[in-house]
């Protein structure tokens, strides 16, 4: 008698409170989500493999800088790998610097950046990092326009 009672209770609660109760049909798809092994990717996301080769610049400085950077990416960087410790990378820095200023100032900024790239001493005390571990060193710090300088301390992880 007791066993029958508990079986009835079990069946009753089984019908009334099934976990799938709230799942609705959405269009042609059932609301079921199969519970299985997630397809996790352990690759470090790297933007350098997705180069933007197009010439979207409107000034001559930007065009010259972009042509040089494109040639460098195609013939050297894509084969050599992602070796620049900074973000934006040195070639992207050159393109951005030339777009924001002019080809002469952009070139000077690039050679200054290139020199800083050679310095491997205490970088972690100078630059904040972006999420993937590269040092954040934006063009805006070096245009000689003090109003553009937005200083970020090294302890901060930059998300932009």
């Amino acid at each position: 008698m007791i066993k029958i009672f508990f079986i009835i209770v079990l069946l009753f609660t089984g019908f009334v409170l099934p976990q799938t109760n709230q799942l609705k049909q959405v269009g042609d798809k059932a609301g079921w989500v199969k519970w299985e092994k997630a397809d996790t990717r352990y690759e470090k996301p790297s933007e350098f493999r997705h180069r933007e080769y197009s010439f979207d610049t409107e000034n001559v400085s930007g065009f010259i800088a972009k042509s040089t950077a494109n040639a460098y990416w195609y013939f050297i960087s894509d084969l050599d790998g992602d070796n620049c410790p900074y973000r934006p990378s040195c070639s992207s820095f050159f393109v951005q610097a030339s777009k924001e200023t002019n080809i002469v100032q952009g070139t000077l900024m690039f050679f200054d950046r290139f020199t800083r790239d050679f310095n491997i001493y205490k970088r972690h005390e100078h630059y904040p990092r972006v999420k993937d571990g590269h040092y954040y060193d934006p063009v805006s710090l070096y245009t000689l326009d003090e109003n553009q300088i937005d200083y970020i301390p090294p302890s901060v992880t930059v998300t932009k």
């Binding site: 007791i2 050679f111 020199t115 200083y151």
Partner: protein, 286 residues
């Protein structure tokens, strides 16, 4: 049979004596209890919502003030200022609300607004916390480039035990240890890298010196050996590194100045936070 009986008894008592049975969660007293609990649990967002519900039914000075404080704590400064300024003269928290309003002006970096508020409103209507208000007023000068008052006048409202610290803030602001960009550029033009060392970037300065001199030496060596084309290529490379080093020294001085300004402001904020903006702690949660 006994088990069935006990099971049914359990079901009946669960339903009969459920907690929700006789409690009106929306009674003013219970809303206040819940809001107080949320406030003391630092859940200021939901505390503000509950207090607002209560304010419609049962207004009190404390509730009005706690609503404003909750908005301030969740950084909804616009609502906080509205609520603080809405606290009337007869409220027991009127003086505190005025001081909190100054703090909010500080937190939104509206230093001009803070000064005009202090001069035109705070001094006239507040009869407590005049010294605290004056301290915040003086502190606002340290965050802007406006002309500082004289040192004696500036230090006047501060206690003796904090005078030394405030004095060092004042001296820093009066003569900040900035580096001159032009001087850095000239130094690097004379000795490559020296301007960067002057701007505090010793490593970059040494690397600048090495890159420029090494490429210049390669160019010189090629000229000496009669390899004119190669020599001119290396001369160009050396010249670009040299020019980049002069430019970079000026930029390094600017970045250095931005860095020390940031660190100074950060130090001020830490100090003011430690002092709780000269506002005494409220004992709402004891």
């Amino acid at each position: 049979m006994k088990v069935v009986f006990l099971f049914l008894l359990l079901c009946i008592t669960t339903v009969r004596f459920a907690q929700t049975g006789n409690i009106d969660f929306n009674s003013p007293n219970n809303i206040k209890k819940f809001a107080d609990y949320l406030y003391c649990d630092d859940d200021y967002f939901r505390a503000a919502i509950e207090y607002e519900r209560l304010a419609d039914i049962n207004r009190s000075d404390t509730i009005e003030f706690k609503i404003a404080l909750s908005y301030s704590y969740i950084k909804d400064y616009y609502s906080a200022i509205q609520k603080f300024s809405g606290i009337i003269n007869s409220s027991v928290y009127f003086n505190e609300a005025k001081l909190e309003e100054m703090k909010v002006n500080f937190l939104i970096n509206d230093f001009a607004g803070l000064r005009s508020y202090f001069k035109n409103s705070f001094i006239a209507v507040v009869n407590k916390y005049q010294t605290e208000g004056e301290k915040l007023f003086n502190f606002s000068y340290l965050f802007t480039d406006d002309e500082l008052p004289s040192k004696d006048e500036f230090l006047l409202p501060f206690d003796v035990n904090e005078e030394e610290k405030i004095s060092s803030f004042y001296d820093w602001k009066k003569e900040p240890p900035y580096k001159k960009g032009t001087l850095a550029g000239i130094m690097s033009a004379v000795i490559p890298g020296s301007g960067k060392i002057y701007a505090g970037e010793t490593g970059d300065g040494i690397v600048s010196f090495l890159t420029t001199t090494v490429f210049a030496f390669i160019a010189y060596d090629n000229f000496k050996a009669g390899h004119t084309t190669r020599a001119w290529i290396w001369t160009s490379v050396a010249a670009l590194f040299y020019a980049g080093n002069v430019y970079g020294s000026v930029a390094a001085a600017q970045v250095h100045n931005a860095k020390i300004t940031f660190e100074f402001n950060d130090g001020l904020n830490v100090y003011l936070n430690k002092k709780n903006y000269y506002i005494t702690k409220y004992e709402f949660c004891d």
